[in-house]
């Protein structure tokens, strides 16, 4: 585990949610730690949470109040009159459609590449064939290739092939860009399944195809979930790919960026708009933190 940590069936790398006692921690005298430790942590946590809290508070404040006073005044005596007007207004101003578009982009862009990657990962782990080693090295190398290489050639290719649907264009692009990481994560996991399990299936007369469906897929659920969460957050949060390939439709990140450009001082809209774009990833994050962390530790070489 000392080098790049990768998920393996038996090891848990997701310590963010675990509470294994560490050798570094001296006897935990006071459970809340000594004063300097507490102070340092509180300071960092404050810097890391206040920006988001401020955004959330401001998004529920009245438009005129947001214009004339800081959001923190709700804590210093002004009081807090919650309004949902900002949300109604920004949803009507394109954010509602964008939200549906983002879902329409992210879910298929997550699901489509998984199976192809799982098949490839199985072959790289458990089949012998010439070129196995260097073909996999190719995937490792492609992890860091900048996405920017693809935009001009792929735009041309889409025109030549007559692919005009915004959604098909981004689904295919996200499937392509996510594939090296998917193959890498799944191969690390599938490759570390116990050999005896695969061998025993073979002894029972199962073909590779049957072994894959009946054995590998069910056993690989943790790694499949880790990649799925990673890819979903990546495609939901993506700005550049949508900006380049989507002509008639907008996703939440693009709509938010446009609002910043066109209504840069309307903070009641920008704050509520920003919160709409981050709410889905935050739910996914808090709900599935354990898998998410595992995906991160496995994918720590993504480019």
């Amino acid at each position: 585990m000392s080098a790049a940590p990768t998920p393996a069936p038996d090891t848990d790398t997701d310590t963010a949610t675990e509470d294994a006692a560490s050798p570094l921690a001296p006897p935990k005298e006071a459970s809340r730690g000594s004063w300097p430790v507490r102070l340092g942590l509180i300071l960092v946590i404050a810097i890391w949470t206040i920006p988001t809290v401020g955004l959330l508070v401001a998004s529920f404040r009245d438009r005129d109040l947001t214009r004339t006073s800081g959001w923190w005044t709700v804590f210093t005596g002004e009081g807090f009159n919650v309004t949902l007007d900002n949300y109604a207004q920004v949803l009507g101003a394109g954010m509602g459609d964008a939200f549906i578009n983002s879902l329409t982009v992210a879910v298929p862009a997550t699901v489509i590449p998984i199976l192809a990657a799982a098949f490839a990962a199985y072959a790289f782990s458990w089949m012998e064939f010439p070129g196995r080693e260097w073909l996999f090295v190719l995937f490792v190398g492609l992890l860091v290739v900048p996405l920017q290489v693809a935009f001009i050639p792929i735009t041309r290719m889409y025109v030549n092939l007559g692919i005009t649907s915004d959604f098909v264009k981004v689904w295919l692009a996200h499937a392509g860009f996510g594939m090296p990481l998917a193959v890498y994560i799944l191969r690390n996991y599938i490759g570390s399944l116990p050999r005896e399990v695969i061998e025993s299936a073979k002894v029972d007369g199962a073909s590779h195809f049957e072994t894959f469906w009946r054995l590998i897929i069910p056993l690989s659920v943790p790694a499949l979930a880790a990649f799925a969460i990673f890819q979903f957050l990546w495609t939901w949060n993506d700005f550049l790919v949508a900006l380049v390939f989507m002509v008639d439709n907008e996703v939440v990140t693009v709509t938010l960026a446009e609002l910043v450009g066109s209504r840069g001082q309307d903070w009641h809209l920008l704050t509520s708009g920003a919160f709409i774009t981050v709410v889905v990833p935050l739910i996914v994050f808090f709900g599935l933190q354990r898998f998410f962390v595992r995906g991160l530790t496995a994918g720590s070489v993504k480019g």
């Binding site: 560490s22 921690a25 935990k28 430790v37 988001t52 329409t104 290489v149 295919l172 090296p180 960026a257």
Partner: protein, 329 residues
């Protein structure tokens, strides 16, 4: 709602399509004589993944390199040229972008790793419930998009003329301390203050990632090495630098290079927050402007070639590390 339906249709089509594709290919292979079957089956399994990366990553890389030697692409005047490389090496706006990228590369990974390490070490010394809560708070921005984070920080940085009621936290604090800001921080080019203000956003996003990996590594440091140092009378700080850090060195390297590669291609944050104005431009944004605004595919391609060249060392490092891990398997 039509979109949602088409999305569901796409899932069905995508998943159903690929299942049918694999099943059909597999059936075909099974019809072959036994020896041929064994030979071709692996390629059926890796085939679709291979085709996808070939089309979306490998072929475009080659086209981009070729395009970087061509000008007026797509017009009747299209021809070979070295002018794009002249632009790459002599354009002063592009050089400023390179300098900014260099600053990003130096400061963002270093500070993000430092903060991540600090939190990992401190949180290790408090009760596990509080450890979990503090880590979640630091880690939370990882889920937020770069565009969302940019908006969040634009709100912190927003500025009014001194003396007025400030609605941005930073300007309000400066004013309350009796030292009001004369210009908005994102327009303050003194010592490239504005570029550093953009970097803060990226550090805020990435420190949690660093923390998670480093924390996992720290918890894997063998207890006896620490006990031994403690018995020898080493202070906690000495133990950290002389015992812990050397043992988590490889994780520090992995985290640093991962953030570094991300920073090399940084686009969303400068695009949304300053659009590259006030001398905050970066190479990925120059690329985008050449591609989308100027519509000069040759120049856009040469900027990407520069990006590819800059990522080559990391490609080499990744492959080398992968081979080392394989050797230990």
């Amino acid at each position: 709602m039509g979109n949602l339906a088409s999305g569901l249709g796409a899932i069905a089509l995508g998943v159903g399509g690929i299942v049918i594709l694999f099943w059909a290919l597999n059936t075909l292979v099974e019809r072959l004589p036994k020896r041929q079957e064994e030979r071709f089956r692996p390629y059926v399994f890796i085939g679709p993944a291979m085709v996808v990366v070939a089309v979306f990553l490998m072929y475009p890389s080659l086209v981009t390199i070729v395009d970087s030697f061509r000008t007026r692409i797509g017009t009747p005047d299209e021809r070979w040229t070295l002018a794009n490389y002249g632009y790459l090496f002599t354009n002063s706006a592009l050089h400023d972008a390179f300098i900014n990228n260099l600053l990003w590369i130096i400061f963002v990974p270093t500070i993000a790793v430092a903060v991540g390490l600090l939190v990992a070490v401190l949180a290790d010394r408090i009760s596990s419930t509080w450890e979990k809560i503090s880590k979640s708070m630091i880690f939370m921005p990882m889920a937020i998009s770069f565009v969302g984070a940019s908006t969040i920080w634009l709100f912190i940085y927003t500025w009014r003329v001194p003396g007025q009621d400030q609605i941005g936290l930073l300007a309000a604090i400066a004013q309350a301390l009796g030292n009001p800001m004369e210009t908005p921080i994102l327009q303050n080019t003194t010592l490239r203050m504005n570029t550093f203000s953009l970097m803060v956003v990226m550090i805020w996003l990435q420190a949690g990632f660093a923390m998670v990996l480093l924390s996992a590594a720290i918890k894997n440091v063998p207890e006896d090495t620490i006990e031994a140092a403690r018995i020898d009378g080493a202070s906690e700080i000495q133990i950290f630098w002389r015992v812990t850090v050397p043992q988590i060195r490889s994780t520090i390297v992995v985290v640093t290079t991962t953030i570094l590669i991300l920073v090399l291609k940084i686009f969303d944050i400068p695009r949304v927050m300053t659009n590259g104005n006030f001398n905050t431009d970066v190479i990925a944004n120059v690329y985008f402007d050449q591609f989308f605004t100027a519509r000069d595919q040759g120049r856009a391609s040469v900027v990407v070639v520069a990006l590819i060249v800059l990522t080559l060392p990391f490609m080499y490092i990744n492959i080398k590390r992968f081979r080392e891990q394989e050797a230990m398997r």
